[in-house]
Symmetry: C2
Subunit: 342 residues, 2 copies
DNA sequence: TACATAATTGAAAGCGCTTTGGATGCCACT
DNA sequence: AGTGGCATCCAAAGCGCTTTCAATTATGTA
């Protein structure tokens, strides 16, 4: 069943049927009803390729999937993708996923753009001074960045969470609880969010005249193994930190293992706040000691970015170019007053 | 730059240029060279939508991304996707990813198929008597299943690993080492691979007149938390098992944590063999006690399935309908002789 | 009643590619 | 010289949709 057959069946022209389907105003409401009814009965579905050829829109958004160690099989990637997909399916959009080595990401992105089978690009894993930004700007294709690029002029469309604010708030909570010795388990150093989170902690501490020792910062991949290692290191420090800020619940998982193995009690000897991306497999409330977290749903971010991307392609009204989402600080049992003595 | 322009530039017809590009035999080698050269110089890339409209091929493979708890953000999904993508990019294929609740998977798959923007379907997370199989057969669209469906006639195209053989071999190794008390940490009960792995263990044990107690089997999600819980349970059993078979290195991670916390030594008090999907984040050789594993790369499976799918769409020669990959048994330090006494 | 205006509808021209059904020229072979 | 076979190449017809331009009918207005 195609447009021609459908229009013959209705005794209308293809033009009118097409217009009825695409919501053009110049078609009589009664005829539109008839068309819609016929669509329902016949199960007609417009041919995507033809639409695309006629309109020039591909109905798809492109993204590069980094595949080097450390990015590969990143749980965060999957979760974000679920969000993108959730929105995409509502608009009959799909993804063009191009896998690429992170070293090749700029080129991969360009290839994707000129391949002609995407309408818009999505970019993540932003770094400080990210080289993809100038490339994206030179392309004439809509894009939205997840995160930001520290050090670059913020004149590109992005959706980010307030990483600095989140970790500032988290650090303040711990300060109010009387903690003075802090440690930060962070993501890889070159990543934008890691830079900002660190800044958030530093500025909260600075207000109390405290500093974050370099020895008390770890920059690692977001795996629980790395979390454990980092925490083991912290626990061996002569001035053992009592307040831990943790860039991910995945890291926290390992960290807590280390705390337990050291015979320390979470929420008493050690207070910990983790950032929670709302990964369904790792709920902070299900930890044996429920985790205090700064929360922001990665999946929701995926939905929103898909909305903006698709909306832009469909030219459906203006979207804010920059969005900065606040995170929620949720206090659970992993934070408590600083222990009175060592 | 489109075909018309390119052909005018060359002083050839569109027909000839098209044929030259698509490897048809009836074009002079010299002219083909000229065309290829011009393509290189102009950077011409055929318009996907037009090709698709003309040929009816979309150049994409569809897959349903399950999003319910337990499937969501599955590390295995991401890893497999990396493999699919690796091959897809070579053929300028892309994915249509449709997220769906597992309850809705049959319907989602059908929607994807009739949406008209995929040429082939990929299906995973197979179950016993999987209801998607009859649906797929009724569709006239190529597909390949990752895994199999226990209890269904094996007359559909699949790629599976020899789960039964893998766990049979693993169990035999442990038997040869003198172990007699076994436990199996398995995936969810309804999943095909879990059924087969269990069968493999049971038949190896049966050869020695041993049985696998129901109490010594866990069926859980493949998370390290579940692994830890399961192992804790096993360790509390009156007749504590000394030989553990584990469906995933992710489960093993938690299991080993439990072993350590119980003060037991891996490879001495407890021998453990895990199935290794070759997840880059969780390498068995990097465990503090390197893990004996049955290995089969999930990513390689992704590559192969993409090959078959794309090959079928392009009608590039016949592919085997059914493939069963052997796994490698790799002995490392987590297996040792059965302890002499409790 | 006559005429401008608005509301609907259609015919037909693409979008850029593949492919069918010839052309054309050249050669070998009767 | 006449014929068939090959190797090359091309014109043109779609593929199924959107959209421009034009036609037709209905609605007001003077």
């Amino acid at each position: 069943m195609n447009l021609k057959q459908l229009s013959e069946l209705l005794g209308l022209s293809q033009t009118t049927v097409s217009r009825a389907l695409n919501g053009y105003p110049e078609v009589n409401e009664a005829t539109r009803e008839r068309v819609l009814q016929a669509v329902k009965e016949t199960g007609y579905r417009p041919n995507k390729a033809a639409q695309r050829l006629a309109t020039g829109k591909a109905g798809s958004i492109g993204l590069v999937m980094p595949t080097a160690p450390g990015h590969q099989s990143d749980v965060h990637f999957g979760e974000f993708l679920a969000g993108l997909g959730e929105e995409a399916v509502r608009h009959d959009f799909h993804f063009v996923i191009m896998p690429a080595d992170p070293d090749d990401e700029v080129a991969a992105l360009r290839r994707l753009a000129i391949s002609g089978n995407v309408d818009a690009l999505f970019v993540a894993y932003m770094r400080g001074h990210d080289p993809r930004l100038p490339m994206l700007k030179s392309l004439s294709m809509p894009y939205v960045v997840h995160g930001r690029s520290f050090g670059s002029e913020p004149d590109y469309p992005y959706l980010d969470i307030d990483n600095e604010g989140a970790f500032y708030d988290a650090a303040r909570l711990l300060l109010q609880l009387g903690h003075t010795r802090f440690a930060l388990m962070n993501g890889q150093m070159h990543l934008d969010f890691a830079i900002r989170r660190k800044n958030g902690v530093i500025s909260a501490l600075a207000e109390r005249g405290l500093a974050l020792d370099e020895d008390c910062i770890s920059h690692t991949l977001m795996t629980d193994e790395q979390g454990q290692l980092a925490m083991e290191h912290f626990l061996q420090l002569p001035e053992r930190p009592t307040a831990i800020l943790c860039a991910s619940t995945v890291l926290a998982l390992g960290a807590i293992r280390a705390v337990n193995q050291a015979g320390l009690r979470l929420g008493e000897d050690i207070s910990l706040i983790a950032h929670d991306d709302v990964l369904p497999l790792l709920k902070p409330e299900n930890f044996s000691v429920p985790l205090t977290t700064t929360r922001s749903s990665l999946r929701a971010a995926g939905v929103r970015i898909a909305q903006r991307l698709i909306g832009t392609v469909k030219q459906a009204g203006p979207f804010p170019e920059q969005e900065l989402w606040k995170t929620e600080l949720i206090v659970r049992a992993s934070t408590g007053p600083a222990p009175q003595q060592l």
